[in-house]
Symmetry: C2
Subunit: 325 residues, 2 copies
Amino acid sequence: MEEVIIAVDLGGTNVRVAAVNPEGKILHKISFPTDASRGRERVTENILSKIHEFLRRFPEEEFEVIGGGFGIPGAIALDRGIVSQSPNLPGWEGFDIRSRLQGGFRMPIFIENDANAFSLGEGWLGAARGVKDFCCLTLGTGVGGGIVLNGDIWHGTEGKAGEIGHMIIDVDGPPCQCGSRGCLEAFASGSAIRRMAIEAIKGDEKTDLVERCGGELETITSKMVYESARSGDRLSRGIFQKMGMYLGVGLANLVNLLNVELLVIGGRVCEAFDLFIDPARRELEERALGSMGKRVKVERARCGDDAGILGAAYLVKRELERRKR
Amino acid sequence: MEEVIIAVDLGGTNVRVAAVNPEGKILHKISFPTDASRGRERVTENILSKIHEFLRRFPEEEFEVIGGGFGIPGAIALDRGIVSQSPNLPGWEGFDIRSRLQGGFRMPIFIENDANAFSLGEGWLGAARGVKDFCCLTLGTGVGGGIVLNGDIWHGTEGKAGEIGHMIIDVDGPPCQCGSRGCLEAFASGSAIRRMAIEAIKGDEKTDLVERCGGELETITSKMVYESARSGDRLSRGIFQKMGMYLGVGLANLVNLLNVELLVIGGRVCEAFDLFIDPARRELEERALGSMGKRVKVERARCGDDAGILGAAYLVKRELERRKR
């Protein structure tokens, strides 16, 4: 009998389901659209049925499914298993997600915020393997975060801790999605890269981005800025340097507050890792107190798109091991 | 036999020594100048002799001195008991302070950073009594901080965590003492109040501060700004409001990152608590994610000048209780 964990990464756009063994090997995975607009009941129904279908690949004679782990976007009141905040899944606030999921299975179910699951994945098998104290940042459309202290996610009083993307680093900075201003997310996310590029072009700097977008500045994407930077465009390269500088300020704050051993940077924007990491490291070294900025390690996440799935699987593995003790 | 703890708050200017009982009652205390310029050996020698003299008040027949707790300015590598950074006690870097102190006594000695000791004092007998997760800020000449998670100081990998005053909230802000720019300390400390007042006067705003300093702007102190504000001076009141706004941004960051239950504000600048707390609370509510800013409690520290001493005593009490178990 082989032990298998069902791990689910529930995103605003796609759901990824994987069978993971207790050593972290992904045996099989599937992906399907979340269709968030259909509402929480039908989305959950669909996920449950997809998982049941998926489970047929693992017949009872050969496999023991030991549990299910779910990474979910938004803040979760872990004591009650209820979604307390969820910008990416509108209408999920107050949803008793754990009971709903648990109702569909005999196996034990564990849930966690998606950025925290990402951090656990990197801690289990990625860049933070063996490290007790670290912070993870996921640079995507927004900036997600996870704070791991003493080997465990720091959840805080209501389970909402770790919002690294909404650390204010520029009191009068540009508006952030969250309603505040000058958050790290407003400088170090895909959306920020896009915004900074458009601003720079309006400031009359020369760039091949104008051609790339056919003169329609509003159609510029962070991907275009990235491609432009790769092809050597000065303005676009400058945007990533600027973004790196701001990222470094955010990293310095994390180090000054938490004196962690390691900072892990992941997310889609990391395709441009080499374009922003030097200014980030420089700023971090200059801004952190004493030698902390030099001593803290900064590494690129290693599990790629699988970090969330592996973290969700780790939730199950860890909890079942604890119970055995 | 009455149990007594010797608690020491070693400051850059003064040393305070107290005898504290295990319930936190201060039985007797003394204070004397640190004379930091005399160098670490003579400063320590002087402290040891003063404590021995102090101990004569507690004869062996009546009192059992169960341990000594020391709050020390600067970062301490707690595993080795060595001062790793100490801006307020020049030349103490690398000093094996624990061995040096322990050598002077038979009782067990415990050391902690001073802002952390302050936080432990507030947690034991002050505003954070019974609260597991909180942050303490001490607003004095600089801004000190302590982060308490799960009822214990969060020290971080090298023992340097909790530098709340050096969280950058304005990437291009005014220079900070530490070499960085736009740190919370550059906005919410006594020095910052002084600086902001001088800047505002140079910006040609009217104020009775000009009279108060006899026209010599450089002689303005934060105390003058405070007195001016109390007497109704508009500019001076505005400075405390501005300072409160920046403080609120810093508090929002702490809440977004750590989702603590309580924020405790102490230090000398708290004489002006009523002058800055409303804008601070307002900014915190507006800037923290979701309802976190409304739910977190913000309170003024309650142990006054004794917080550091009580925290130092708590180090001893807690550790001896742990050992008993």
